[in-house]
Amino acid sequence: MTRQERNAAVFFVILGVAVVGHALAKLELGTLKEPGPAFFPVICGVGIVALAGYWLVTSLKSVKPWAPLWAKGELAAPVTATVLIVAYSAAMEPLGYLLSTVIFLVAWQQAIEREKWLKTGVIAVCGTAVMYLLFMYLLGVPLPEGMFVE
């Protein structure tokens, strides 16, 4: 077991306890004859606590030295991508699909891929147009138009 795995095991024990506590406090457990809404969540919560607890107790002696999950600089791209995806999602309704997607693709190419501006522009415009045609005309999915189209 690595230290990260130990932390994960502790997290799961806490999660399981919280689930059982919440289910017992807010929902009805019922009986074996008539199980209530808390019946299954409690089984799951107890199951998680038991498994993660067993894992923790039996592996504590063999905790390996800290080995980072990410090599140096490895996390930068996934974190940047997450930030960009959240921003893109938040911008889609107010700005509309077209504008938000072009901005998202430009930001991605510049922040993650470090592409040249010409290539960035081509990818952004073509990618947005292809997906627009695919969703609007082939799949019939209504896309947000944004506040500029009223």
Binding site: P37, I48, M92, I112, G127, G140
Partner: protein, 503 residues
């Protein structure tokens, strides 16, 4: 309905214009995702679920998704042979001898034997599916709630024990999946569970957002981490058609692989990965020159590639007859069926014979399409590897974000999808397999219902699970699996202790 009559009807459905088109598109897309390292069949099916949900015919949507699933098994060998990077998990073992063959300038023969083996095995798998599925479905008609509960328990347990490297982690994922499916309004009492006052959570988590996040988005994050482009070992593919010696060395491997794949594919969790590994080990044992394995033995490519294709066809048996998904990809097909108002299980063959036989017939056609796509067009697929992830990655993200939004024209689903993407990424970094989570999430409502119904039937007595003949047998099997795993775990700990003490 007679099997041949049913199959004939199935061909009339599969050969219709739309279904043929989607069978071809599925096979094409499947080969593409198999070729592209990183993007596996589970991730791709999850990404395409919103598209499938908008299709009007359940048969067409399942024909499409099935094509992606078994198509990926064909395509997976390309990168294994040329780059020593498995396109998907079931092609890991092909890297060993396939890459060595490529290094010796025999990439063409390796790719060809993989495609031919895949075709033969895929067809053997579908023939097995044709003849095994109907009687199994008929037998499963005798199942009541307790039998289903026991069966689903075994299915999930086998999926955990056979697929991942740590059963303990798999079991935690399994409980987490059940827990996530509990979010929303309890169907029996009508009370809200774990919604915390959020209206959008009253209907629970959308399967699509969960699957796309855990598989699709997390895959993008993982690929972003390692952007180092792999280099081709050969500039040219070389002669495509295998030599007479290649045929002689491969034919029995293909046949053995087909049967191993079929039998492991039927078992939940067994699947394509276990099938290919078992086949490789067996071929090495059967080989006249086992020392050639690892140096470019063609049987080391033919056997495993055949096995993973037979397994992918066979894994439709528990889905179509018992309503049990054998792996994460099949769990997504299961969810697609549910959304389309079709419940997979023993009644499927009676209630939706068009879908049942149409899908099976499409798999015969799909195998032929895949042989044509993979054998002469292998050079074209190699070109696909040159599309940089810098273009593919953001397009996948855009596609998934819009797909999630389109589920209910609601941004809430998009945020849930992103959250599960991050959770999936962290879980996979910590070597937790999200497969059991997805399978448990899909099966949880059925498990909960069958447990509650069983307890209602027995007035709260757990004895109902052991006193009925079929459920009793299944429970005994369940206990035997648990006991065997516990014994294995104790033995492993003992061995580790002995090794630590230097004994």
């Amino acid at each position: 309905m007679d099997i041949f009559q049913g199959l004939l009807g199935g061909f009339s459905i599969a050969l219709s214009g739309t279904n043929m088109l989607f069978c071809f598109l599925g096979a094409l897309l499947g080969t593409a995702v198999g070729v592209l390292p990183g993007l596996g069949p589970a991730a791709t099916i999850s990404l395409l679920l919103p598209v499938v949900y908008s299709m009007s015919s359940p048969a067409t949507s399942i024909i499409f998704l099935a094509g992606i699933f078994y198509g990926a098994m064909y395509g997976g060998s390309t990168t294994s042979i040329l780059l020593r990077i498995p396109g998907e998990a079931a092609s890991v073992v092909t890297c060993i001898d396939g890459f060595q063959m490529a290094k010796k300038g025999r990439a063409g023969a390796a790719l060809a034997i993989a495609a031919i083996g895949s075709f033969v095995a895929g067809t053997v798998g579908v023939i097995g599916l044709t003849f095994v599925a109907p009687p199994l479905a008929e037998f499963a008609l005798r199942f009541g709630a307790p039998e289903y509960f026991a069966l689903m328990l075994i299915g999930l347990l086998l999926a955990v024990f056979l697929s991942g490297d740590s059963p303990l982690k798999g079991l935690i994922m399994l409980f987490l999946g059940i827990l996530l499916s509990n979010v929303g309004i309890d169907p029996i009492s009508g009370k809200e569970r774990f919604t915390f006052g959020i209206v959008s959570l009253q209907n629970g988590f959308e399967f699509v957002t969960l699957a796309m996040g855990l598989f699709g988005l997390s895959e993008v994050f993982l690929t972003l981490e390692s952007k180092g482009a792999a280099e081709f070992v050969t500039a040219t593919i070389g002669r495509i058609m295998p030599t007479a010696r290649d045929w002689a060395e491969s034919r029995w491997a293909i046949l053995r692989g087909s049967f191993i794949g079929f039998f492991t594919g039927v078992i939940p969790g067994g699947g394509a990965v276990v099938a290919s590994l078992t086949s490789y080990a067996l071929e090495k044992k059967f080989a006249k020159h086992p020392e050639e394995f690892g140096q470019g033995a063609i049987a080391g490519v033919a056997g495993p590639e055949s096995a993973n294709n037979a397994a992918s066809s066979a894994s439709f048996i528990p889905l179509l007859t018992l309503g049990i998904p054998a792996n994460a990809s099949i769990a997504m097909i299961f969810a697609a069926l549910l959304v389309q108002g079709v419940t997979p299980g023993p009644f499927l063959i009676q209630e939706h014979p068009d879908l049942f036989w149409g899908v099976i017939a499409s798999m015969y056609l799909g195998n032929v399409i895949l042989l044509v796509l993979n054998l002469p067009l292998v050079g074209l697929w190699v070109q696909l590897l040159k599309v940089p992830f810098g273009i593919l990655g953001p397009l996948i993200v855009m596609f998934t974000v819009v797909g999630c939004y389109s589920l209910a024209n609601d941004m809430f689903n998009v945020y849930v999808f992103i959250a599960f993407g991050v959770i999936g990424y962290i879980l996979r970094k910590l070597r937790f397999d999200p497969g059991p989570l997805i399978m448990a999430f899909v099966l949880a409502p059925l498990i909960e219902n069958s447990l509650r119904q069983s307890l209602l039937l027995s007035a709260g007595s757990m004895a109902i699970f052991v006193t009925r003949p079929i459920s009793g047998t299944l429970m005994a099997l369940f206990a035997a699996i648990v006991a065997a795993q516990a014994y294995k775990a104790v033995r492993k700990r003992k061995d580790v202790k002995c090794a630590d003490n230097g004994e």
